[in-house]
Subunit: 255 residues, 2 copies
DNA sequence: CGAACAGTTGATTCCGTTCAAATCTGGTGG
DNA sequence: CCACCAGATTTGAACGGAATCAACTGTTCG
């Protein structure tokens, strides 16, 4: 009933090109892509499915494995097709930041830098769809809709990241956690899931490093929200939102 | 020798369309634009100067005046041509965040939302060049280079905002301030200024709300950096960087 | 069974906040 | 010109909340 266990620092990534070869894996090309409606590819006409497939590489990752390391040269961009990843950055003395979590449909590649500014690690077993930056650029010049879609998404990501600034700079631990839970809920809903249950695939450490707190404080905050009846937790990775109203009030979110 | 005094909350913005009318103001159209090389417009061919001018509106702001309020409908995008502005957001109980500062050449308009998520206020007397979002969209469809430039800039802004996350989540007051000073220095340099002097047009309160600290802590951090010989300050708005190396070490920046 | 690790809970410490006050500056009006 | 005021900045003292240190529980996996 629980999720996969994390294994600390897996070896390295072995990108797996896919083009043209007789695929042993699932038969679903872009046409049957489960996250197409969530992904940037949706900006392209369906007839382009073949072209896309030819350019795309499929990358499976086991929990804990590293897709890219901070400092590596950026050569590809990705769309998450399943699982969950984290974007992390370390200071010399070990202080850690989780700059964000990446879920199915999310695009990885909005950066103006030539090298990764964060490592990208799989939180759970995941898979991604990869394009070389070159291919992506040429796709963009042929399909302005794609570039427009990318800009639109970059803007939304910027909105979200700016919202996180408020959380980190001025909100209390309880408020940050409420905010985080509602955010995760929103993402889950956008993926078509319903109900009041939020799934948190990541360990408490990741939540702490995402919210700028310690694990202990995060744990105490969960306990507090539970005691106050805002949430219920059968298992640390499954949280039931019991009182959306008060959660939203804590997070100071519109709804 | 000092900068303009801030006046708290000026009245409101009175946008000033400019197209076609016999301009009383400075004769410099886009051709003579002082920030053209810094602005997104640089992506357009020079022959387009006339077209741009016809679409652009000039907006002068006095220190403290508000360009846009959180919650207002977004109808225009802007390029800062002079001065300095801040992007702010308030919580119900008055807690304040400065999500960023906007300097000459900066583009204001990277957001996926239909309404402003932050208020934009002038820190000092400023001026901006305004385009309706409609005009901007049509310019983009005619000139893919412009859309590419916008995407590129949105990505860079995302990089910078993500870097701020680390500052807010995990760095000490001293490190945050060092980081901020080097950042401001970098922006000043990119505008063509040299020397070791950084100009901080904003009051300490803004710096505090930007770094997620109190004014007192910011002030103490300045004092500390001064005592340790990393900086010198003749006046609160002018800071001389005395020891870039140690500042960079504090900020954990590459250089 | 025992080791390793995630998560929770408790006790104590410490850093940044809060509260308070002094200093300095520029601007105003007598 | 100078006294005075308002706001910005700095400095000091005390407090408090999250970090730190530590211990315990529960689960997974060898």
């Amino acid at each position: 009933m629980s999720l996969r266990v994390l294994r600390p620092n897996g070896p390295t990534l072995v990108p797996t090109p896919r083009a043209g070869s007789g695929a042993v894996a699932e038969d679903t090309g872009c046409g049957g892509c489960l996250v197409r409606h969530l992904a940037v590819c949706a900006a392209l006409p369906v007839e382009q499915a073949r072209t896309l497939e030819a350019l795309a590489g499929d990358i499976p990752l086991r929990a804990g494995e590293v897709l890219a390391r901070e400092g590596d040269a950026r050569r590809e961009v990705f769309t998450v097709t399943s699982g969950a990843l984290r974007r992390i950055r370390l200071l010399a003395d070990g202080r850690r930041l989780v700059a964000g979590f990446l879920m199915p449909g999310d695009f990885i590649g909005f950066s103006g830098a030539s090298h990764y500014r964060h490592s990208i690690e799989a939180v759970t077993d995941s898979s991604l769809c990869a394009f070389s930056m070159q291919d992506m650029r040429s796709l963009c010049s042929r399909h302005p809709e794609l570039e427009r879609e990318l800009l639109e998404r970059a803007c939304v990501e910027l909105d979200n990241t700016r919202a996180n600034l408020m959380s980190l700079a001025r909100m209390t631990p309880l408020e940050r956690l409420a905010s985080f839970l509602l955010d995760m809920d929103g993402r889950r809903r956008r993926q078509g899931h319903g109900g009041d249950e939020v799934i948190l695939p990541m360990p408490r450490t990741d939540i702490a490093d995402y919210l700028g707190l310690t694990v202990e404080t995060v744990s105490r905050s969960f306990t507090r929200l539970r005691q106050d009846g805002l949430i219920a937790t059968e298992d640390p990775h499954r949280v039931a939102l019991k009182d959306r109203k008060r959660l939203a009030a804590l997070a100071e979110m519109p709804a």
